[in-house]
């Protein structure tokens, strides 16, 4: 009897205590991100590039002296903000585009049809892993950089005004850029396409804006998604260019861009055929 078979079937899996949602999705995404080599390669490249830049920059200043706009915190953190961020962008895009390039997305959605939950879990796990690592990188770059600068007594300490903020925001901005790429990845669904779009956004728009009349550019620059507008974030002192916002202001501008991209990505992720 079929009915008898249903009743007597030994359940191999315990019933779900509650409806699968964010906690399970977070655990799953953590397993996913930590179980592919591309994650480790990208993160290793990020750490190496950021610290190497800090060492070179600070060593150069220690041997040749510094200019009028010198800021000790910035000297040790620029590597992460200007270069490291470009590497994290790759990981941010890959987290979601690799699901499409491999076809894994169909399997992922077949086990977690609540798309909003899946999308949020991916973003949160990526942001957590990236922020943790960029925080370590931030402090490491800072201490190594200051140690090099101390030979000429150019160095600063975390207790000086604005220094701790610069170290923390430098880690946070990297995460924000990664999320920026995650949103773009969800929209474009193609690794190369998403990375190109983001690099175009960060590099090309500020570059094209420079073709504008000087007065316009000066007013516009603080709103641009990259270029000189990044500078205040790594500085412990106010920006040289008086047209730019403060560190927190520029951070808010970048976060705004990221939030828009993430929201558009979420909307499309939930609506489109997978």
């Amino acid at each position: 009897m079929t009915t008898a078979a249903i009743n007597t079937r030994i359940r191999a899996v315990p019933a779900a205590a509650k409806r699968p949602g964010l906690p399970g999705a977070l655990r799953s995404e953590l397993t996913k991100i930590l179980s592919v080599r591309s994650t480790y390669w990208t993160l290793l490249a990020f750490v190496a590039a950021s610290i190497a830049w800090a060492v070179l920059d600070c060593a150069g200043i220690a041997s040749h002296g510094h200019g009028p706009d010198f800021n000790a915190a910035e000297a040790s953190l620029t590597g992460q903000v200007a270069l490291g961020e470009l590497i994290i962008v790759v990981l941010g895009a890959l987290v979601i585009t690799s699901e499409y390039s491999t076809g894994m997305i169909r399997t992922s959605l077949a086990v977690m049809p609540r798309r909003g939950v899946l999308y949020a879990a991916k973003a949160m796990v990526f942001a957590a892993v990236t922020f943790a690592l960029s925080l370590i990188t931030s402090f490491t770059s800072f201490f190594i950089g200051q140690a090099i600068l101390s030979s000429k007594h150019y160095n600063t300490t975390l207790t000086q005004p604005g220094v701790l903020r610069a170290v923390l925001l430098s880690a946070a901005i990297v995460t924000v850029f990664g999320l920026f790429a995650y949103g773009a990845g969800a929209i474009i669904r193609n690794t190369a396409g998403a990375i190109s779009a983001i690099l175009g956004f960060i590099f090309l728009i500020p570059l094209l804006a420079q073709a504008l009349p000087n007065a316009w550019f000066a007013d516009l620059q603080r709103w641009l998604p990259g270029g000189g507008a990044l500078e205040p974030i790594a500085r412990s002192t106010p920006p040289i260019d008086g047209h730019l916002f403060s560190a927190w202001g520029e951070f808010a501008v970048f976060s705004g861009y990221a939030a828009v991209l993430l929201a558009v990505g979420a909307w499309l992720f939930i609506r489109r055929d997978a």
């Binding site: 078979a5 799953s28 397993t31 491999t102 399997t107 077949a110 049809p113």
Partner: protein
């Protein structure tokens, strides 16, 4: 139980699935048959909520898939064996799926054992043969011990032993009272596996019936005979509206007439028969006939416009 009601999917001008209504019931293997491009995969994607229907609806155990309580415990699906991240090991692939639905780790080891992938479980799935990938996909489908199982062309890339294995697996799953829905474009495969058939062509439902009925329902009656007097038999068979064809060796096949009719004709006309048996119409032939009809029908309606 899977229930589709007026299910349709259109991609731009192209109609992939056209007003499909069917029910896939538990306790048996239901074959989902149609030529390549008939809309089988699109239908399965809509069942899983991957694609949004243009019209109509489909439910799993009475609910749209997106609204089920625990997706993996209700439906296990193998759509595309290569839909995995090749850089991830088989074990981690299954683990990350299990974690979404709070399925214990030991179940991951269990399904790896069921499909026989123990030796390669820690290897990256990039290097897997198609057969191994199919087994990994089946392991993923079994993880949640679901009530409904869907397999899209599961025997692709499997060796004869693997085909036998998956056929036995599907039977045992159905015998446990589960709903098993398996697609194929290989009629011969379905003939040996399915209890019930849903046949589609160009996105439209062509047949939805038990497999026995499907072959019996075919218009192509055929009878195998042996006779020393094939000239005269050909004449009387043709006169009765049938057609005589040469078969293997000295065997002849009469098309369009049943064994009873051929026997009666032979007796009435005094023709000696050495052998008389109904020829089993293969599923393949019945299928070709049905789909040919649907193609003709579509061509006619197209011309009338």
């Amino acid at each position: 139980m899977i229930e589709a009601r007026g299910l349709s999917k259109r991609y731009g001008d192209k109609v992939a699935v056209d007003d499909l209504t069917f029910t896939v019931r538990p306790g048996r293997v239901t074959g989902f048959l149609g030529p390549n491009g008939a809309g089988k995969t699109t239908t399965m994607r809509m069942i899983l909520g991957l694609d949004r229907p243009t019209a109509g609806s489909v439910t799993v155990n009475g609910k749209p898939f997106a609204a089920v309580y625990s997706a993996m415990r209700e439906v296990g699906a193998l759509l595309d064996a290569k839909a995995v991240h090749g850089g991830r090991s088989a074990y981690n692939h299954l683990l990350c799926l299990a974690e979404t639905n709070a399925i214990p780790r030991r179940r991951v080891d269990e399904v790896i054992g069921i499909v026989g992938l123990e030796e390669v479980a820690r290897k990256r799935s990039k290097g897997f043969s198609l057969g191994m990938s199919q087994r990994l996909g089946i392991a993923a489908a079994l993880l949640g011990d679901p009530d409904v199982l869907m397999f899209d062309e599961p025997v692709n890339g499997l060796d004869p032993e693997g085909i036998r294995w998956i056929r036995l697996l599907m039977w045992s799953l159905a015998a446990e009272g589960r709903t098993v829905f398996v697609s194929s474009h290989l009629m011969s495969e379905m003939e040996n596996t399915a209890d019930h058939l849903i046949v589609i062509g160009r996105g439209k439902l062509i047949a939805d019936c038990p497999i026995a009925e499907f072959t019996a329902d075919g218009t192509s009656l055929a009878t195998n005979v042996k006779t020393p007097d094939d000239q005269r038999l050909a004449a009387v068979v043709t006169a009765a509206g049938g057609r005589l064809e040469r078969g293997e060796g000295d065997e002849l096949t009469v098309r369009g007439l049943s064994a009873e009719e051929v026997g009666q004709l032979a007796l009435t006309n005094g023709i000696l028969l050495h052998y008389l048996a109904p020829a089993r119409v293969s599923l393949e032939e019945a299928f070709m006939e049905l789909t040919a009809d649907s193609v003709e029908y579509q061509a006619k309606t197209g011309a009338q416009k």
